[in-house]
Amino acid sequence: MRIVSAADMEKVSRSGLRKIRPEKPRIAVGLATCGIAVGGMRVYDRIKEIIGEENPDIELARVGCIGYCREEPLVNITIPGKPLVILHRVTPGDAEEIVRAVEKGEVPVEKALCRIPLWDHITGCTQEYGAGFDGIPRYEDVPFFSHQKKVILRNSGLINPEQIDEYIAIGGYAAALKALSGMAPEAIIDEVEKSGLRGRGGAGFPTGLKWRIARNAEGDRKFVICNADEGDPGAYMNRNEMESDPHMVLEGMLIGAYAIGVSEGLIYIRAEYPLAIRRLQTAIGQAREYGLLGKDIFGTGFSFDIGIATGAGAFVCGESTALVASIEGRTGRPHPRPPRLTDPGGGLFGYPTDLNNVESWCNIPVIISKGSEWYAGIGAKGNSGTKVFSLVGKVDRVGLVEVPLGTSLNTIVFTIGNGGAGNKKVKAVQTGGPSGGCIPARLFDTPVDYESLNRIGSIMGSGGIVVMDEDTDMVDIARYFINFAASESCGKCVPCREGLKHTLLILNKILAKKATKKDLEILSDLTETIVATSLCGLGQTAPNPVLTTLAYFRDEYDALVNP
């Protein structure tokens, strides 16, 4: 079946809604990679087994992940007329009890994390699950959730990512229909510009402006690419976005392609994300069946399709010029910019190319659906919208945290994350992965936005926040990140290839207590040169963990060196 009108959409939507809120109870297991890793698949299999034996009137489904990693495996129970209940830390041994309870229209209360009577999917659908289960805490009263604002993760963990009907049921592809059949491309770019959306890959370049440059670039063939080469240690926002809600990425790309005037799209995704690749492939296949990708989408005459290109395990391939080289089959080595990807001759196979991060694309359907004004109202001035962070490391509540930009590190680490794990004192956080810096706890009132983080020597990056506690050796942390960057350096330019190698050697010497004050001087000279002279962003930012630990935790270095 092809969807060409709002009426077609409505029909599919009704079928999807019957899956999300079936007339019979539904048990849905959170099966993103994170959930599977802690045994979610075993829980799913066990429940399936019981249902298969006894044939009770219960639906079993897979959903993505709502982001509370510490509490996984998570299982959603939907009983008609009742709130959706999320069970946490579920084991295969709990399966029996869950099925028994659900059969009776109940839930195992002691396993319940929270209940959701009402959920706003933002893109035009508010799900009213129902009332009851008053003894279970409400979603908004769970401290991990209460300070979050889910715009990007609006559907994650609540819908089946392998069922396009469920995405359409919660308002999915309505923004694309609105854009393609009722908006001029320029008007879409205007909306995105006015929304203030900035690139979520880390650099924060205005997305609308990038689209405008790509639209205005000379050339009759152009590309849009989704950068899904997420590789910062500890960062997995994009993975969850693709695994839990792949159609949101596709819809964002479809709208962007129409606005820029492109008929070919690619998702460049790292091979280390097999489940995300599979779910994207499934999603692309389903979108094609409905005519949401392919020729003459919505009968508008506009054609667009998406292919998948997988990486071969190099961090530097997230850099735009190396990414393009990798897709073309060349070695992933950056080249000097200009030419930029949007310049003639600079993009994929020489054609002007627009490249945006997964999460940037995820915001697009919301901006079109709710309007730029609504979107710009979230976050801080010049930093609108929300950002998903992966809060990991030595923090009590590990998970994906989505907050408006401008939220302080204090709120993220202490209010949402509940501070250090095991009651340890939090010493610092590392934001922005290997390109970011270590921020000491005394600066945690810093609002998390692009400029504020830059001012204190770190970067927003793609959204990793690694927490360190009182036991963490900050020099060792610097060494960890330098070791990562050195081994991921492509080896093209000297400061990055040789400079990071020697930075690592000096840090090893310091940690072995064989260094002198002189070595600290060399370290600081060398890292300054790497920042100033490296060819691409990897080298230019790689010394940040050293520079920030030298600035904020100098005493730890001094304690290790001989005079």
Binding site: A314, R333, H335, P336, C493, V494, L500, L505, I522
Partner: protein, 275 residues
Amino acid sequence: MIQQEIPGKPITVTINGKEYRANEGEILLSVAIREKIEIPHLCYEASLDPYGACRLCMVEVVRKGKREMATSCTLRAADGLEVLTDTPEIVKHRSILFELYLAEAPKSDVIRDMAARYGVTRTRFLKRIEQGDPLGNKCVLCGLCVRACSEIMGAGAINFINRGPYTVVNTPYYAPSRDCFGCGACVRVCPTNAIEMEDAGAERVMKSWSGTRVPLSPCECCGRYYAPRELSASVLARLDTPLKEEIARLCPECRGKHIAREEILAKHGGSAKHA
């Protein structure tokens, strides 16, 4: 591939406070080379695409009173462009880069002399000395050989292997290359004279490239081996000259003599004797 660049319109650029004529879009480093302004560089070659890897040619660009560092091999001349080549900032970073080079290619006289010219005579970094390095601990991974082999010769016999600090240049799987013509372009473009090549009898041995051996053609007259066989064949296929026959059969020396003899024969009717 190399494209013949159409010279842009004449403009003026300022280097170290002095004005120079240049063509718009011209690479700034090539303007400096023409005007004999010294900027150190290792990975630049006029006949290849700009690469920007050695980072030695960095200069400071003055824009609206602000200074920003850029590699002069990728910087394009534009009217009013102003650069400084020896600011304290440049000197500081360049010195560290030279120290890194001295540690990376400790056996290279070229690097040693170049660094010394810029006042760097020792390195504070651990020197990399690898026994049996096919490039004699002289390679700085500027990529000129790789690019000449692929961009100019179209052979692609050598490439980078590994990444980061483990990067080296060699043939795929360190096996003798079947794609190598033995042209020696790599040897000629190497700024540190790291690549070794030797002619031994009927073969040319690319000593640095995993012992790649390329057959040579003998001169029909003197018997000396003088040109890589495959290379001659592919060059001859593209040549259109009455001398094609001579080029295919004779070494340059014998060819000269042969042509001279033909000329004399034509003029004097057979009085010349073979030398």
